[in-house]
Every structure is written in C-alpha cells, then in structure tokens.
C-alpha cells in the first residue's frame, strides 16, 4: 500500500474525523448511541453505504453529466441505503426496528455526499472506495465510543450484558440525547488536546 492510500485510509479515522473535526453526521450520532449494538450496526451500515456509493460514483464519474451530478449521486446513495435497509429488515429485524428511521436517514448524512463530491468525483475507484470506507469508519468509531459510555453508564450493560454490579443505579440522564452531545464535546476536547494544530487561535 503506497503512502497516499495509507493516508486516505488513516486520515479520516483520527486527524480528519468526519464527526469531531468536520462536524458532520451529528444528528444520527446523538440518536443511535443509546445502545452499543445499535451503534455498531449503524456504523457498519454507514461504512457499507459510504464505501459502495463512493466506489460506484467513482466508476461512472467520467460519464456523469455535470448539471445533474448531485441527483445522480443521490440516486446511487439512495440505492445503497435502501439495499442496506432491506438486508437489515431481513437479517436483523429487531435492530432495524430499533434504528427505525435513522438507517433511511443515512441518505441525508453529509458525510456520504460530502466524500463523493470532494473525493470520488476526482479519483480512481479503488482510492475512492478506501476513502469512503475510512470516513464511514471514522464516523463509526466515534459512534461506538459514545455508545460505549452511554450504555455502560445509562443502563449498566454492554451489548445487552450486565457489566456493572446491581448496586449501580443507572443514570437516566446519559440515555437522553443531551448527554450524547456532552460526551461528543469531551471527545472533541480530548482530540484537540492531543492534536494541537486543530486548536483555533
């Protein structure tokens, strides 16, 4: 793997993370992080959608008429999202019900369209696919971190298994969306403390 490709893969996961640095996809990261299982499935779904739609758009990038390119991209993204939704309905029905509208709303997730516009339209299929997957993974990583703390502190469980002793009283505030925003803020804080060049003057 050459250096450019490695950078394409690793940059979105930490240094250019779509949630904490680009602040995209905040809405769903607040909504689906109550339980770790839901967050994992959501993360996987977004990785598949960003990866495949970047790949497909990159494959047809030279044929897309410029005036309707956003619509063509949207059709491709919508296709991937509906396929993912249908597969989840068939193989993970209870999780699909739990995630409800948020799977469908991946279409509106700025990360997907953003990466297609910024990367896939101007790059070869393979790097575009890597870029899509990496951005999905960067999004998923934050989702999983937030969901880890929210499920642990909010329900005393992890992936549905009791981990904290019964004497721990679950903190209901953690279940509510505001706490997800606070946790997200803490992650941004930690990241900027490590990575000084992200700090605004």
């Amino acid at each position: 793997m050459n250096k450019d490709l490695k950078n394409t893969l690793l940059n979105p996961i930490f240094k250019g993370n779509p949630i904490t640095v680009l602040v995209l996809g905040i809405c769903s990261s607040l909504a689906v992080t109550v339980q770790l299982k839901g967050a994992l499935v959501m993360a996987l779904s977004v990785i598949v959608v960003t990866g495949l739609s970047s790949l497909v758009v990159s494959l047809i990038r030279n044929t897309i008429p410029n005036r309707v390119r956003i619509i063509v991209q949207l059709v491709v993204v919508a296709l991937m999202v509906i396929v993912v939704d249908q597969v989840l309905k068939a193989y993970a029905y209870s999780i699909d019900k739990q995630l409800s509208v948020y799977i469908g709303l991946i279409i509106t997730n700025c990360i997907v369209m953003g990466r297609i516009e910024a990367f896939a339209l101007g790059n070869k299929p393979w790097p575009s696919f890597i870029d899509g997957v990496a951005n999905g993974a960067g999004y998923g990583l934050i989702l999983v971190i937030v969901a880890f703390f929210r499920e642990l502190l909010g329900s005393g469980t992890l992936l549905g298994f009791q981990v904290l002793p019964d004497s721990y009283v679950p903190n209901n505030l953690v279940i509510l969306p505001p706490m997800a925003l606070i946790l997200l803020g803490c992650i941004v804080w930690v990241q900027r403390a490590i990575q000084k060049d992200l700090q605004e003057k």
Partner: protein, 286 residues
C-alpha cells in the same frame, strides 16, 4: 462525447434510474420471504406477550424459530368468525405452516361496512386455562395502530394487551408500545358488551375502580383516541362472540342488569336460560 448536451443528460439519467430500479426490485424480491418471516414472528410474539405466555425480556431473546414453536405448542386452536360470531373456518396452527390473519386493515374496512368481516380468534392454552386473543386495528395520529387483547376463558376479564404502531411520535404516542405500565393497566379490566362503549381510554385518568377504562397517556391525546376507537370498533364486531363466551346472549336482555350485569351474566353459568329478569341481588332467574 459532449456529456453536457440535453439529449445525453436525459438518456443518461433514464438509464441510471432504470438500472437502480431493477437492482432494487431484485433485492426486494429476494429478501421478501425472510422479511415476511420476521413480520410473522413479530406478530406472534405480540400475541404471546398479550396473553402473558412469555414475558417481554424472554421474548427479546427468542429467535423466529423459537417464537413459532412456542406459538404452536401453546395455541389450542385459531379460527375466523363472521359478524354473527359464527365460526367460518379454522386457521392452521402447525409449526411449519402457521396461518395468521394478517389482513387487519382489510378487515377494518369490512367491520365499517365494506363487506362481511372474517375476524380471527386465537385460543391459547395457559396452564390448562383458555386464553382468547383478539386483534384490534385503527388509525393513530401518524399511521395505523394495532394490538392484541387477551381475555380469560369466559372473556369476562382481560389478562393482558399489547399494542404497536407504525409511526407514532417517540416518547409520546409511541408509549402505547414502549411504556409497559400503559399496557399493564389493561390486565384485570373487563369489557362491557351490553353498552355501546365497550372500553375507554380516558384522558385525565380513569375513574377510581372503573372496570372498563384505563388512563390515557399524557401528550398522546390523538394516539389514545385512535386506540380507543380501534378497541371499540373491533370489540364491537366481536360482541356476539364475546357474549357467547360470557354465556349470555344479548338478545335475551341481560343488558337490563345494568352496570352490575357482570354479576348476572359474566359467570357463564346462566347459559341460555338467562331471561334478563334479574332480581334485586343482580342474580339471574334461572
């Protein structure tokens, strides 16, 4: 080639849309049987939950197969009835070919006058006792609401209920499903088959000790009204059946027993001999 010409753009978008539609149609058709199986298992698990055969936390751990086999082993019989309460036909309850009446929407139109309804009755066996599970269906605020109400052997008491919805507001209307305490209220209540209002979901709280009413959910007025209407519409359609189960026929005027009709007709002992001339002690003349 000029990719910006009008002709190219129109042809290009048409081809893309046709390809995408074909892929989606293929995916939807391939996955349909699996999705239907999931929906079927969910419907059954809602009935099992209403009948209190399995508690909710166990139900979440059961996979489709476990749900289907639990249904087959605990169901005694299932059949369709018409508006007179007469049995139309049996539904298959064998594990491999479980048949459910999943056309509640269509039956809802039939109840309201579009045709002759075929209403399902599921009879479960719970430790030797019969449990009757009846569906209800109606319009909530954003979409349909439906559910299952389970009655004891003589249909005089509700043993449990389960409700679901397709798109009620999370935290408000969705509480008909998500709030166990709302559903739990139904246990121990009874349905008044003699009146026009069989059951009420009361905004502002049901009166203390009311047998045929439960508290509505705060902030979910329209959902509760819709559910109230669904329950009343459907249980009205089941009235002849419920009355037979209770051992009293409506035509014989047990309604004259007033609000204490339960004393008279609820026991099932009166049978066909209840002539409605209830004494002062609300006992039937036999």
């Amino acid at each position: 080639m000029n990719t910006n010409s009008n002709t190219y753009t129109v042809i290009y978008t048409t081809i893309i849309v046709v390809i995408v539609a074909a892929v989606l149609a293929f995916v939807a058709m391939t996955l349909k049987p699996l999705q239907d199986a999931n929906v079927k298992a969910e419907t059954i698990s809602q009935m099992l939950s209403a009948a209190q055969l399995v508690n909710d936390s166990d139900l979440q751990k059961m996979d489709n197969r476990a749900v289907l086999s639990k249904y087959s082993e605990s169901v005694r019989t299932a059949f369709l009835i018409n508006s007179k309460g007469a049995k139309v036909r049996e539904l298959n309850t064998e594990e491999g070919s479980i048949e459910l009446a999943d056309n509640l929407k269509e039956q809802n139109y039939n109840i309201k006058g579009a045709g002759e309804p075929n209403l399902p009755v599921y009879v479960f066996d719970k430790a030797g006792e019969e449990i009757y599970v009846l569906p209800v269906y109606g319009a909530g605020l954003w979409g349909p609401v439906w559910g299952y109400i389970a009655f004891n052997a003589d249909c005089s008491k509700i043993v449990g209920a389960y409700f679901d919805h397709s798109g009620e507001t999370p935290g408000l209307g969705a509480k008909i499903k998500d709030e166990p305490s709302f559903r739990e209220q139904f246990a121990g209540k009874s349905v008044d088959v003699t009146g026009t209002k069989l059951f009420s979901i009361v905004k502002g709280g049901a009166p203390e000790g009311a047998t045929g009413a439960v508290d509505a959910i705060a902030g979910a007025t329209m959902t509760c009204k819709g559910l109230d209407a669904a329950i009343n519409t459907w249980l009205s359609a089941y009235k002849p059946f419920l009355a037979t189960q209770m051992g009293a026929s409506l035509s014989q005027g047990c309604g004259s027993c007033g609000e204490n009709s339960g004393d008279c007709c609820g026991g099932g002992d009166c049978g066909g001999s209840c002539n409605g001339s209830c004494g002062g002690n609300h006992q039937c003349n036999r």
